[in-house]
């Protein structure tokens, strides 16, 4: 370890300085992808209402837009912001500099370039047909390699930590950084490079898609909550003795939930049964985690705690709804409806995204050396984000439920079911637009902050790339 005991007091500055470039870059990149993903999703939503809109353009076919927007949101936005926050949390909790931060910046750039080319290819040439692995195999290894290397940087930061003490946020991050590259590697090999014919592919695919959500995005988001709620609320983690149990039950069970989505499908039944059972048991870690994460509050004065509260509420709701509706009687009604899409959105927009925003509002001011300039903007961001999530998930949870009941009654013709779903699709699109609008508040505030930071500097470019000194003179 580089620092000696004597300069521990100025260590936080050194830690922040080592993180500044890669972390701010990953957060900014994540924000850019969030806009790209939301933009694509909005065009897709318009096409659901007016299929003729831009229909001459093959690149903007509904199926491709939908795949591209999901890929942009999960890989570009959530994964990237999550990694950025992971780096900072691991460096800060370990009280150590982020190793090879300049190289991490370069790798992150390669990741973004790979993702851009991959999504472009997906739009221009078509999807590979495998959900979440739509990026074609000519390009996906680049993203895999970048993911793996960035994970190694995070793991190295954990290994270099000061002292052997560790907290739940670190456990989840370490788990995610170990699990996801392996999961992604296996999935690419099994599904894109050496596929076998038939249903074995679908089982493997279910394993990967659940892993992507539950063993990657979820632990990233949980780590942010575990780390920042105690720090910001200035209270220690509640019921801390449950944390190890919550951690281990989550990591042991979550990987087994993969085949639940094939219920009633052509998949051998035992996989589905195991997955449903694991999904119900997953309520144990969820409840234990909730016990740990008290301290966030919807009415708090801190926007961090309010975002955290939205995230936790969505997480709980998602867990309960997933467990209850995974049972066969519910699935015969809800399967294939927008309800399932609503649950995924509750997870991504309701649980993961607000946790990341809570992290952004905590980390960025430290790294930039000053507060976000606009005080109103975070409030607006929170209101529109929360409102958007509420509207869009409710539209699909309720609308999907109604759609399911009507589909289950064969005397209602399909065209009628489809027509009655239309209003719900519109409400959903409205919610998505609200959510997107809210993100502009964050983007504007971030741009202003950047301007404020750069203004007093003689040579802003050099300052941005210097990882040793704080660019903010006189702070």
């Amino acid at each position: 370890m580089s620092g000696s005991q004597s300069n521990l007091s100025d260590r936080p500055d050194a830690v922040d300085a080592s993180c500044r470039l890669p972390v701010l870059y990953l957060l900014a990149g994540g924000l850019a992808w969030l806009f790209a993903g939301l933009g694509l999703a909005l065009v897709a939503a318009v096409k659901l209402k007016w299929p003729g809109f831009l229909s001459q353009c093959e690149v903007l076919t509904y199926g491709r837009l939908e795949a591209a927007s999901r890929t942009a949101l999960v890989f570009g936005f959530a994964s990237q912001m999550g990694l950025g926050l992971a780096f900072w949390i691991l460096a800060r909790t370990g009280n150590t500099r982020l190793p090879v931060s300049g190289i991490a910046f370069v790798i992150a750039t390669v990741w973004n370039a790979g993702l851009t080319v991959g999504i472009g290819y997906l739009l221009l040439q078509g999807s590979s047909g495998v959900t979440w692995l739509e990026i074609p195999r000519q390009i996906s290894p680049v993203i895999l390699a970048a993911t793996g290397l960035l994970s190694l940087v995070g793991i190295a930061a954990f290994a270099a930590r000061d002292g052997s003490r560790s907290e739940p946020a670190q456990w989840h991050l370490l788990g995610a950084l170990i699990a996801f590259p392996l999961l992604y590697l296996t999935a690419q090999l099994a599904l894109l490079f050496f596929p076998v014919r038939g249903i074995a592919q679908s089982v493997t695919h279910g394993w990967f898609s659940q892993g992507l959500f539950l063993l990657w995005l979820a632990p990233l988001a949980l780590a942010v909550l575990y780390h920042f709620i105690p720090v910001v609320s200035e209270r220690p983690t509640a019921s801390a003795r449950f944390a190890p149990l919550a951690f281990w039950t989550w990591w042991i069970l979550a990987g087994w939930t993969g085949a639940a989505e094939w219920i009633g499908g052509p998949v051998p039944a035992w996989w589905v049964t195991v997955s449903i059972a694991a999904g119900v048991l997953l309520l144990i870690p969820i409840v234990l985690t909730l016990l740990n994460l008290q301290g966030a509050c919807l009415f708090s004065r801190s926007v961090v705690l309010r975002f955290a509260a939205v995230s936790i509420i969505s997480f709980a709701l998602w867990g309960v709804l997933t467990a209850v509706t995974s049972l066969r009687c519910a699935q015969s009604v809800l399967h294939f409806t927008q309800f399932g899409v609503g649950l995924k959105e509750l997870f991504l927009f309701g649980f993961v995204a607000p946790a990341l925003f809570a992290g952004v509002y905590s980390v960025v001011p430290r790294l930039a050396g000053r507060e976000f300039p606009c005080r109103i903007s975070p409030q607006a961001h929170w209101i529109f984000t929360t409102g958007g999530i509420a509207v869009m998930t409710l539209a699909f949870l309720v609308g999907g439920w109604i759609q399911g009941w009507q589909l289950a009654s064969p005397e209602i013709p399909f065209g009628v079911v489809s027509a009655r779903l239309h209003p719900w699709l519109l409400v959903h699109a409205f919610g998505l637009a609200l959510f997107g609008f809210g993100q502009m508040a964050l983007a504007a505030n971030a741009a202003w902050l950047l301007f404020e930071c750069v203004k007093p500097l003689k040579d802003p470019v050099i300052a941005l790339f210097s990882t040793t000194a704080s660019p903010v003179v006189g702070k």
């Binding site: 560790s166 089982v203 394993w207 399932g340």
Partner: protein, 217 residues
């Protein structure tokens, strides 16, 4: 607490266990499944599922490249779990054997549109209505099915005689007078794939309902 090594090992073990369950075992178990070989009424040995014709196989690539799976499933659930059979989307549930020929089974997860696992059967002896690809609303008013007009060619009518395969289009979708819309190669391939979709074969693990069987005889 020294957590590092315990977490490395624990997470890896958990992951490898699920890898066995979801990657290794299915590959093994399902690899044993072969096509169903039987003798049909004419005494010819047939094997199901048969490989798709070249045109239909290319059509399948177009189907997945355009993301039709975003709204269409290709699977029929058993009678106990949904109204698929009552809706006429298939005579029996689909089983693993139905997908033996597919490199990436397009089971789908959303039914914004109807299931297509047996679409070819619903066509019966009719030719696939290519208009449905060019402008679904011509066939089904208010439909939100994706139009794929870029698979067609709009060109001037040659020598005053409309071509035999020109689409019959009404209203706003109709081309300017003197022009006609004819399907391109990819439209025909996609149509061939859709017309090939059928699973009504009696399998030991998923027999056709007796009533349907006797009705066929």
């Amino acid at each position: 607490m020294k957590y590092g090594p315990i977490i490395y090992l624990g997470v890896l073990t958990a992951l490898v266990a699920t890898w066995f369950g979801f990657v290794a075992v299915p590959r093994r178990q399902l690899a044993a499944l072969g096509p169903d070989v039987s003798t049909n009424a004419a005494g010819v040995v047939v094997s199901y599922p048969a490989a798709r014709s070249g045109e239909a196989a290319q059509g399948r690539d177009i189907y997945l490249s355009l993301g039709c799976s975003a709204c269409h499933t290709l699977q029929v659930r058993p009678e106990s779990g949904g109204s698929d059979i009552a809706r006429g989307w298939g005579k029996r549930r689909t089983v693993a054997r139905d997908y033996l020929q597919d490199a990436a089974p397009l089971l789908g997860s959303s039914r914004l549109g109807p299931d297509l696992a047996n679409f070819g059967e619903r066509l019966g002896t009719n030719a696939f209505p290519l208009v449905r690809l060019f402008a679904p609303r011509q066939v089904s008013p208010g439909s939100i099915c994706t139009p794929v007009p870029f698979l067609f060619e709009t060109r001037p009518i040659r020598r005053g005689v409309p071509s035999a395969d020109a689409l019959v289009l009404k209203g706003a979708a109709a081309p300017e007078s003197g022009n006609e819309v004819i399907p391109g190669r990819r439209a025909r391939q996609l149509a061939a794939f859709l017309a090939s979709l059928s699973t009504s074969v009696d399998l030991p693990e998923a027999p056709l309902p007796v009533a349907a069987e006797t009705a066929l005889k």
